[in-house]
Subunit: 444 residues, 4 copies
């Protein structure tokens, strides 16, 4: 439990160097409380030796699976979906030979029991299996370690690769000297051995269902230098900003950002509408953990503590402030107040994503429906409520087209490419939190 | 993991006060490495809610049970016997009604699968089940909380009792304001609710098998004020000393002890042979953890660091030194050396238990056969090896009679008492480590 | 010792709330090793009660002062300059009345003993004295706490102020709900009581000496939203970028920054030369402490771990990369390599400050002369050495004019203002690390 | 701050092995709160290099010395007497040559400024000075390191000694492989170099004053195997028990002890009056820190938690219970209650020291006068108050004669020995806490 930097000391890492493969995990658990028992990877011993499982996502039918396992006589020691996945993988399928486990059959059995959402790694002896659910809701991609100082690694054959790495986000590869190799496709079961990456099978979705990659990875979660579906997240965000400039222009003196996540959209907006991009806030690097707020004064200051104000840059000016999303609506208000008190003449807010209105059951922590600003009465007079001169969100269509435009262009280009067959069926994205339509039926 | 005092802070304990029952555990794990995963109580969720299990002992057929569970499709997350016990308790017996669990049937099923050794507590909702294996190898006893300042609690009815406590050793009761109530009998299944202690069943041993309580609890492990089988451990130890004085008298000036565990035997020996009891060593309370021994000098000092020498008490005298056991033989030598260098004229060692020669498979950490002094060539000339003028161990018969004498006397007296039926069959003690004969057949 | 967030828990802070004034300190000690003993504030008891001293800076004649104090019979318990300052303040000046300390006389005596560099706070009973050395080498400014939600606080009288705060950098005021009030002038002794801020004296510099505020506070150390000498640091940095565009233009496709410190200069450069500002790197927020580099591969990756590459933004383009300074020259090389490997056609480096060539003896940790890239042979072919297509530093004159331009303009405007008398004499800045000329003679 | 075992890890000790001399300190600070700043040794830099001072005791004129130092202009950073001693040692005496410090003159100057109480070590370069105040109030003795396995070390010349150690209590020597060499005499200044122990001077007491070694070291503080003034503490305690049997005999069945400190007195009492010595309590080794007492029940249990009761040993018997002292009177009551409730027929308390009635100003923490049971009205009916059948303390004369008997015998024998001259003047002991007469006049 805790931050990687606190949990892993140089000493504890040294113990791992005797080996040459491993899996780890760093997300918050979304179903199941954040307790030690729910830490991943989840390791159990089976008749065929230990298996270890790390997974990202949330099972839409977890409750039913729990009951099924317990009825079989399995006492469950945690509340995590990962234990369900692991115990399901420990079950012998009917036709399995007693001496050798048939992991593909077990994984397909798992996909049969639960359609989404999970991207997972399973380690058994010297093999790692990388699996993405048929809807592709959570990301998963493969990188390869290249000789240091050779980031591009282009033209290397597999034999020259120094090793393989798998990650939710490709941005992590550069930090460890690996290069992006490819995504794991929706429904794909990949077997990774020391020298080889091999597709064992691709489980299709029920006929007609489009894929359902989480659109909020583009909007908010992912790091801008990550690549999903062949495109850089930064580029999607800039396109959202450009689209927003088309949908909601405003007469002003400058365009700025709530640093740092909204910067690509702000630069896109500024470029599209021809206004100068000027910084109005800087991050307060002296503010770390915010949970110590020792007195009333500091609690009231709220978000203002997190920023410095560059007032000379905007005193007397009309500011367009781009934010990446407004979820609860209680962080943008003090920022606007801060800008006004520091001399901004007007503050127009433009949000580079549509309002969130519905809960997520597939692994993302979203506030309850009641907490979402878009479901509150104040939403009808939002500019007034947050103290802005105007406020406009990006449309759902604008977001979807910003995301899919380049994928579709590429898809048309790549009609003959081998990897394309994995994308068979309609390309889609999960926009359930925006419109309330979920990719699969929810079960309790 | 760690000492109770370090693990439980005042804050962490406060969280427990919302409830009025609980189980805990503090032993070293004997099978299974000492890792966090093996910490008890072991908690799993079953169809009928959570159960928690804490157990003391070691299953003699653990390996076979592991394989059986995994073949059924249960992935095991630890190497501990407690998980085996817990998963066996999670299994539905064939005739169980689907809506209400039959815990007695499940516990009897467990006893059927594994005969020894375990004393265990299982908690489910507001009930705690206390169970002792049919051989009674590990201790377990029940106490009752009395109003503070009323230690005796005699004549209280159940209704006046403030609560129930269960422990391996009765010595723990006084510290929390409870009084000794009774032992859990071998094979007994006790149900403890808020106001009531009730015997649900007593599972008998295979015909002819005597009970097999671990004799080393008397010799070494238990605290002197604990009560087993109706007798105070201190009294048994003193009788061992008296018996030793009969078996191995010696002409000397004084009798002394290796503090503190051998003191009851030393006082018994001194009284029986009429020599004065005089202290020759005092405990060095400034020596705590011994694992920091920063240089060669301190490592060589060894056990001498743990004691102060009261040389004025024995200079020029002949000393009989009573020890409770000599296992490896490497702690008594430096003590004898210390006494001689500080002026003892003669040092005669008398050991208040027989030599240990065989491993224990029922929960006690005993050095390997090769490490036991009784299996080494030097044992044939032990006095010389350890530097003593003479050394004699208590006989096996002497130990057994010191332990059983008072039980048998009491048994004769209590022929008509209700509790006696639980002791049906021959009274015996496990002396496997002394003679190599185990109470049940060992399985791997 | 340690980060503020680790050292101060909510509990430890609660103990401080019984009081309503205090001083603290968070810098690295520059002379004297980083040990607990050197932690500030330094507190000693004097005949007149306790005094506490926190100071920023480094005494240029510390060694002589140490000897002087020890010769008087004062045993010194640390190696810190702060203890010297505190013991000097504990000394009774010749004419002081025995019953009441004359702190102004004592502080002037301190200034007489040591000319620079120090900004310090001294607390005695319910008064805090804020003092800046006559050369004004280290910054110090005063803020006032305003009712929360009233950041501007304009027009408030002293009586309406909720309290006073003093800081090296004004950026810290916003985070605690205070507003910038004014700088402490070079040589000024300010007395701060609960309701009042009062100038007690201003000690002049030796005739002819200009003030000597550290120019690297503008270039590198300070946060961009801090205000020194009446101007925002961000504005100075942007002017440096503009000046750099004039001094060293280049034909290219885009201007970018090494995030985040060089961004103001990059935006200034881009605006002045009319090229688009486009991000090429993003900060890797997953990289925290860099001292765990468990294997050779990760050590070789070096600085690349700290950034993500936004390759789609510059593939095939000519990039002007603005950095705020190049000190040792070993962080810029891997960045350039990264950009080239990710597709940059050309990389032109422009540095928004002049090369550092000399050590600092006034409180700033600068690498040894030998480590400075500007003193190495490779400096003569720097572009080649770091792998850039070209590299140009800002001139010393360019830096000084970027810094002083607005101060001088303001000075001309404010000839009649009261505060101006504190600035009497020539305005100057310490540029010793750039040109080797120190504001006072150094002593050993 | 903290226990030695927690503070010194194997790693931190390794850093010390580069050197071959050092001083340390482990007592609670008696004047001055227990804070980090007051931790010893106290180290300051002087003109002649660093000196380090560790001291045991409390200065009877500390307040006057503090004012004197501060008037000279020394700011004091702690509230500890050790800083006063160290700063006094840092002062140059009038006739000292400027280049070489005259430490003997400085130490004699210290003794002149403050008569008692202190035993101290001062380290300067490769010399350690061991000093005991002229009254010899606090203990100090010297041991020598002998080759391991040669505890007696008799007949070794200095040249064969492996090193020297100094300690308050000789009991610590055995644990590190050293043997007792001799006491530092009252007023003696000893210089210890690598191979040599040399008396530099012995400062006499004012004419007529007897020495004043703290008698409570014998009664309570010291470990029984320590040697003071030529006698083993254990022997003194046994003599106190014997004396108590003479002063306060009782008709009973057995004599017992409150373990462990009263055991020597109990054995002495039992032997003198011819009653059997039988244990009635055992220490509860499961009770460590007592400050977590999570609920009312456990708080009320109080001292009972610390002991186990060996009720079979005394049921129906008349018990003489020996305690070493009764200070506040609130620990003996629950013990007596425990014994009665467990079956004791009578409980007679005999205390092997006289009642404490007065505060100590020389380094020992004694409860306030109001808290001392001997100053309370209940003292007149103490047996009733604590629930005993009778209670008798040892007389002051009985204690003094038990302590001095063997010293005086030895003194008569050693009239011609060299060491005797150090004991010139009357032998005495500080019994201020018993009778209210202090060895020196107290100053504030």
């Amino acid at each position: 439990m805790g931050l990687v930097n606190h949990v892993f000391s140089e000493d504890s890492l040294k113990k791992l160097y005797i080996s040459n493969l491993g899996i780890g995990h760093t997300r918050y658990s979304t179903s199941g409380v954040s307790v030690l028992d729910n830490c991943q990877p989840f390791v159990v011993e089976t008749l065929h030796g230990k298996i270890a499982v790390a997974h990202n996502g949330e099972l839409t039918n977890a409750a039913r699976l729990r009951r099924k396992l317990m009825r079989h006589g399995v006492g469950l020691s945690t509340s995590s979906d990962s234990e369900l996945i692991t115990q399901l993988l420990a079950f012998t399928p009917p036709l399995e030979n007693d001496d050798t486990p048939d992991w593909v059959a077990r994984i397909k059995n798992l996909m049969n029991e639960t359609p989404t959402s999970y991207s997972l790694l399973m380690m058994h002896k010297d093999i790692i299996y990388a699996v993405r659910d048929p809807y592709g809701n959570r990301p998963l991609c493969i990188g390869r370690l290249v000789p240091v100082g050779d980031i591009s690694g282009k033209g290397k054959t597999n034999a020259e690769t120094e090793g393989w790495v798998v990650s939710s986000e490709s941005c992590s590869f550069l930090s460890i000297g690996a290069e992006y190799y490819r995504e794991v496709m929706p429904g794909e079961i990949v077997k990774i051995s020391r020298y080889d990456v091999q597709t064992l099978d691709v489980v299709p979705r029920p006929a007609g269902d489009p894929s359902a990659f989480c659109i909020f990875e583009y909007v908010y979660f992912a790091r801008p230098d990550s690549i999903f579906e062949g495109q850089m997240v930064y580029s999607v965000r800039r396109r959202c900003g450009q689209q927003l400039a088309i949908e909601a222009p405003v007469e002003a003196d400058l365009v700025s950002t709530v640093p740092e996540s909204a910067t690509p959209a702000a630069l896109g907006y500024a470029q599209k509408c021809g206004l100068p991009y000027i910084e109005v806030l800087c991050k307060n690097r002296y503010v770390g953990r915010t949970f110590i707020q020792p007195n009333m004064r500091l609690r009231q200051l709220g978000v203002a503590k997190k920023f410095g104000v560059l007032s000379d840059n905007f005193r007397g000016k009309r500011v367009v402030l781009i934010d990446d999303s407004i979820v609860r609506g209680n962080t943008i208000s003090p920022i606007i107040k801060l800008l006004r008190e520091s001399g901004a003449k007007e503050v127009h807010v433009r949000v580079a994503s549509p309002p969130i209105r519905f809960p997520c059951y597939m692994g993302i922590n979203i506030p309850t429906k009641e907490e979402l600003i878009a479901n509150k009465p104040e939403f009808h007079d939002l500019a007034n409520y947050i103290g802005a001169d105007s406020v406009v969100y990006l449309s759902v269509e604008g977001l979807v087209s910003s995301v899919q435009e380049s994928i579709k262009a590429k898809q048309d280009n790549e009609n003959n490419l081998k990897s394309n067959k994995f994308r068979a069926g309609k390309i889609g994205h999960c926009i359930a939190c925006l419109v309330g339509k979920y990719p699969v039926e929810l079960e309790w």
